[in-house]
């Protein structure tokens, strides 16, 4: 798949909660096909503390309109710069990167998408595509509190969404792995979120014989499989999260 280096123009900035913004970006030139689970590396300008690009998952993608959406949670200087962008600003972007989630070949199966925090960002595009091909799926989103969630209407418009919150302010109180919906039968779980959550989901999936794909967020430099900084220790040794991932089947990992 050909990768491009493209200047995206910010079309819209939506402050979706206290810590997260949704950036809707537009490209003059046609964007290369980008799949759910893939990511981009965004160049952060005018920020002396940031030299490396910042990897951000594809939250939404519209090939016809040449639009791509990123959901950014502010955790440091790079994401703060991204969150401060205004309509019309340009961001130099390297994309599409990584492998993406395995898309189902045939229907008749049930899929569960489990997200935590900003980790549910790529699950939005995945859910859009699953809906498009007519798959049976549900979303389970975990957060500390209802106010940490974002774009609930958009997610709920795609299908069934269940929640867990640690303070019980929305959905069931507790962690995603304790939600009552797990009693239903699912054939595959896709998950992205904080590592402890993904480890718990992976453990649950393994114990229940459910296929499971996780999306990792190892620290990156090149994003192209060249520097070997982003490796995960897998059953086949050190593999690059930026090219062999970010999505791995739990069977490939040592978790």
């Amino acid at each position: 798949m050909k990768k491009v280096l493209v200047d995206l123009t910010v079309k819209e900035v939506l402050h979706v909660n206290a810590n997260c913004v949704l950036l809707v970006m537009h490209s003059e030139e046609p964007l290369p096909m980008t799949l759910p689970g893939q990511f981009a590396e965004l160049r952060v300008d005018n920020t002396p503390s940031v030299v490396l690009r910042r990897p951000i998952s594809v939250h939404s993608f519209d090939a016809e309109k040449n639009e791509i959406g990123f959901l950014v949670q502010v955790v440091g200087d790079g994401t703060r710069w991204l969150a401060s962008l205004k309509e019309g600003d340009k961001v130099n972007t390297l994309m599409p990167l990584g492998n993406g989630f395995t898309m189902p070949e045939k229907s008749g199966k049930r899929y569960l998408l489990v997200g935590g925090g900003v980790g549910s960002a790529p699950l939005y595009y995945l859910a859009q595509e699953l809906k498009e091909i007519g798959c049976d799926f549900a979303l389970l989103i975990g957060a500390r509190s209802a106010k940490d969630l974002y774009r609930r209407d958009a997610y709920e418009a795609l299908g069934r969404v269940e929640y867990t919150t640690e303070d019980g302010s929305l959905g069931e109180r507790g962690y995603v792995t304790n939600h009552s919906m797990l009693a239903e039968k699912f054939d595959r779980i896709y998950t992205c979120g904080p590592k402890p959550m993904m480890l718990a989901v992976a453990k649950y999936a393994r114990e229940n014989g459910i296929e499971c794909e996780v999306s990792l967020e190892n620290k990156m430099a090149c994003g192209l499989g060249a520097c070997l900084c982003c490796v995960e220790d897998t059953k086949e040794g050190h593999r690059c999260v930026c090219t062999d991932g970010p999505v791995f089947s739990i069977d490939e990992l040592k978790w």
Partner: protein
């Protein structure tokens, strides 16, 4: 037309722009952004006799205007390179140079011999910053005698262009450069990464799994320039300048300081198209300054 080609020992480069080992993969990773044939050449990942898994993650940390890495020479070994990577590179119209690393002299020699057998690889870059496991783990490149010893051994086994990459973690880099020149190196390249460290104050832990790691990027450029300047005055063989080069003007600075060619490293992560842009910049620079050849720039610093 301005003349941009330079010679490094027996090696002809169409322009002085190379890439630094470990930052450009096997070149192919960057083919969507750079016409590889436009470069003077590229230096592939550090290659060892046997497969190496490298160090544990985390292996990198961003630091002010730079980064630390502790990749630890992860690679599948020279035989894998020869069988699986070399066939994809051998028909390129540029110089593909292999960076050879080792844990003992015998490994360096055996690895260099295997690379020598590959027709379309015109040169090796010998990374002497590796710890000598048989001699207490001190890097070969930190003492003139051990640096010269590994270079002479490889020199006997390797007939093509031998570039020796120097470690900056030394008291007097010019002394090491003279020692490897005396041992038969055709050229020296510098600098490799500077030993550094990063700490997470909240977790009260080092960021790298190895605690310390190699620093690179724009922050190291002044040190690299100074070392290139000192070494270029100390040896007669051509010098290849490395360290913090992020644009064409940086590259010209190294040429002025005495480098005959340059390598671009960390900047490839910031802008994967940067090497092609540097080639264009140098050509334009020569035109702008009414120079007919890049030779007029090399060592032309007015002091």
């Amino acid at each position: 037309m301005v003349k941009t080609n330079v010679k490094i020992g027996g090696l002809e480069l169409k322009n002085p722009v190379l890439t630094a080992s470990g930052t450009f993969g096997y070149g192919l990773e960057f083919a969507d952004f750079v016409d590889l044939n436009k470069l003077g050449g590229f230096i592939v990942k550090g290659t060892t006799l046997n497969h190496r898994e490298g160090n544990a993650y985390p292996r990198s940390a961003e630091t002010p205007m730079g980064m630390l890495n502790a990749v630890g020479l992860q690679n599948k070994g020279v035989d894998y390179f020869a069988q699986n990577i070399y066939p994809q590179l051998k028909d390129l119209d540029t110089n593909v140079i292999v960076n050879v690393s080792g844990a003992c002299i015998e490994d360096y020699v055996a690895c260099a011999e295997k690379v020598a057998a590959l027709d379309k690889i015109p040169a090796i870059e010998l990374n002497i910053s590796c710890p000598n496991v048989k001699q207490g783990g001190m890097a070969f490149g930190v003492m003139p005698a051990s640096a010269a010893e590994v270079v002479s051994a490889v020199r006997k086994a390797y007939p093509k262009t031998l570039i020796v990459k120097l470690s900056p973690n030394v008291t007097d880099i010019a002394e090491i450069a003279r020692a490897v020149e005396g041992a038969g190196a055709d050229s020296v390249s510098l600098i490799n990464t500077l030993l550094g460290m990063a700490i997470d104050s909240e977790k009260r832990r080092p960021i790298l799994s190895t605690i310390t790691g190699g620093m690179s990027g724009p922050a190291v450029k002044p040190i690299a320039l100074r070392m290139v300047w000192q070494v270029a005055k100390a040896v007669k063989i051509p010098v290849v300048g490395i360290g913090g080069i992020t644009n064409g003007a940086d590259a010209v600075e190294f040429l002025l300081a005495g480098a005959s060619a340059i390598e671009v490293g960390t900047a490839n992560f910031m802008n994967p198209a940067v090497t092609g842009e540097i080639v264009d910049y140098i050509e334009n620079y020569l035109v702008r300054h009414n120079m007919s050849s890049v030779d007029e720039l090399i060592g032309a610093l007015q002091v």
